[in-house]
Amino acid sequence: MKKRSRSTEVILSTDSINVVYQESLIALQNVSLDIPAAKLTAILGPSGCGKTTLLKVIAGLIKPTSGSVKVRGKEIEGPGPDRALVFQDFALLPWATVLQNVGFGLRARGVPKKERDETSLHYIKEVGLLGFEDKYPHQLSGGMRQRTGLARALTINSDILLMDEPFSAVDEQMRRKLQEDLLNLLKVENKTVIFVTHSIEEAVYLADQVIILSGRPGSVAEIVYPKIDRTGEIDLIRRQPGYIDLVDEIWSSLKKYVE
């Protein structure tokens, strides 16, 4: 049995990040975080508080006004092979098939077609899209598009997976299904996951560490560590006694930032 504790290796950290948009809008203020390796970290906060901004700073897509991001102690210069991003709006090429979309990262790295297709198909299978590899994004449901974006992120084999509200664009049943699939997937893929969510239940259900951001400007309000035993059946997780209590606890601390 693997014990999940706070004292594991820190794979990624941010050091007093400030992001100011258009010289006046402060999106993030003094955000310092430690992200433990091989754990799920949720970034939770009211909408507009800077969650996407924080994730994009970590991804290297936005340069913070001040502060730094370090991966294994080394400051990042921009996007890197150690981090893969799953986009909130999927960001799939509309003219490309599932197979081509999933293989985008490998293609950008110059992986030859045969190897690229093999790897892509492996992850297409892993996210449950086998048989759909020749479909175009407009032929897919929201859930399938999200899986395509996830498969694309998995192909490049980075240690850190960044997901921006990965389950918000799909309906409730599909969301539960995708959440369970993610937990299952992480049992075979040894990944550090940082995901953004505005759902308290989702954060508590999935995450080992929940970072609660205050309302704008976003700064770290509180960090909680749901001690939920995820070793057993997935269905049992939601029934654990601590689960509901923690959801309530987080809600009461988040309430003051929501008008």
Partner: protein, 270 residues
């Protein structure tokens, strides 16, 4: 243990909407029908006494055949086609290169955009007579007229196509470490494809307007001369036959452009 996880396809996954496109043959059929209808209306309108300057379709058709056989078309197009082809080439290649590079290189935007917008909004055809003062009665005048009327449309639309690339796709490309070249080839150009080709079609139409205007207004040669001459001697059937011939060539060029687009970017197969 790896790869043991299988996901069932859920209800949502099976709700696929795949629209069926009708067979190509029926499209062709409707096109022929619509051509036929236009010719029929033309014939009827020509037979009623609207004007003697508006002959029925049948007369124009006969004049068309006559002009092919007599070599009048051959002679006129020998004058018009070379500058038209050169002008089209410059319009298409130059327009795409200018539009795409301005779209890709932000710093080039400032000095070239105002020029393009002026060319697109001002009545450029009014400039054409002035070309005589610069280039005289020459093929150069015709080529410049074609390029002035065609290229801004191509360049402007190519530029807009490049600029309209979904920023989220650009972020995606950057986050997957695609080089600038790969981003251009795999993300930006395919995004801009529809706009670029729409611009090419507009630009080609503009180029044809350019050659006809140049030959009507400044250098009385080629098909422009054929139109003017036949109007002057009141052979309206021949005048219309000439106009139809240039429209047909313009239509053919546009169709070739479509074929080229389909070859370059094959349509999605369902």
């Amino acid at each position: 243990m790896e790869n043991q996880i299988k996901y069932s396809q859920t209800n949502e996954d099976s709700k696929l909407n795949i629209t069926k496109v009708g067979p190509k043959t029926s499209l062709l059929f409707f096109r022929i029908i619509s051509f036929f209808l236009v010719f029929l209306i033309w014939e009827l309108a020509g037979r009623s006494d609207i004007s003697i300057a508006f002959p029925p379709f049948s007369k124009v058709f006969l004049a068309f055949i006559e002009m092919i056989l007599s070599g009048e078309f051959v002679e006129a197009y020998a004058d018009s086609l070379p500058p038209l082809l050169i002008g089209l080439l410059i319009t298409v290649v130059g327009g795409v290169i200018i539009g795409v590079s301005v779209g890709l290189v932000r710093s080039a935007e400032w000095f070239i955009m105002p020029l393009l917008i002026i060319f697109q909004t001002a009545p450029v055809s009014a400039l054409i007579p002035m070309l005589t003062y610069i280039y005289g009665i020459s093929d150069t005048s015709k080529i410049v007229a074609i390029v002035i009327l065609g290229m801004p449309l191509v360049a402007l639309n190519s530029y807009k196509g490049i600029q309209s690339t979904n920023p989220s796709l650009l972020e995606m490309s950057a986050s997957f470490l695609a080089s600038r070249t790969n981003t251009i080839i795999f993300v930006i150009l395919p995004s801009a494809q529809k706009m670029i080709f729409a611009g090419l079609r507009l630009g080609i139409s503009g180029a044809f307007i350019g050659i006809v205007l140049a030959e009507l207004l400044i250098t009385p040669t080629g098909i422009g001369d054929l139109i003017t001459y036949n109007r002057f001697i009141a052979r309206y059937d021949k005048m219309f036959a000439t106009i139809v011939s240039i429209l047909a060539i313009a239509g053919l060029t546009l169709s070739l452009m479509r074929v080229f687009e389909d070859w370059l970017f094959p349509k999605e197969k369902n």
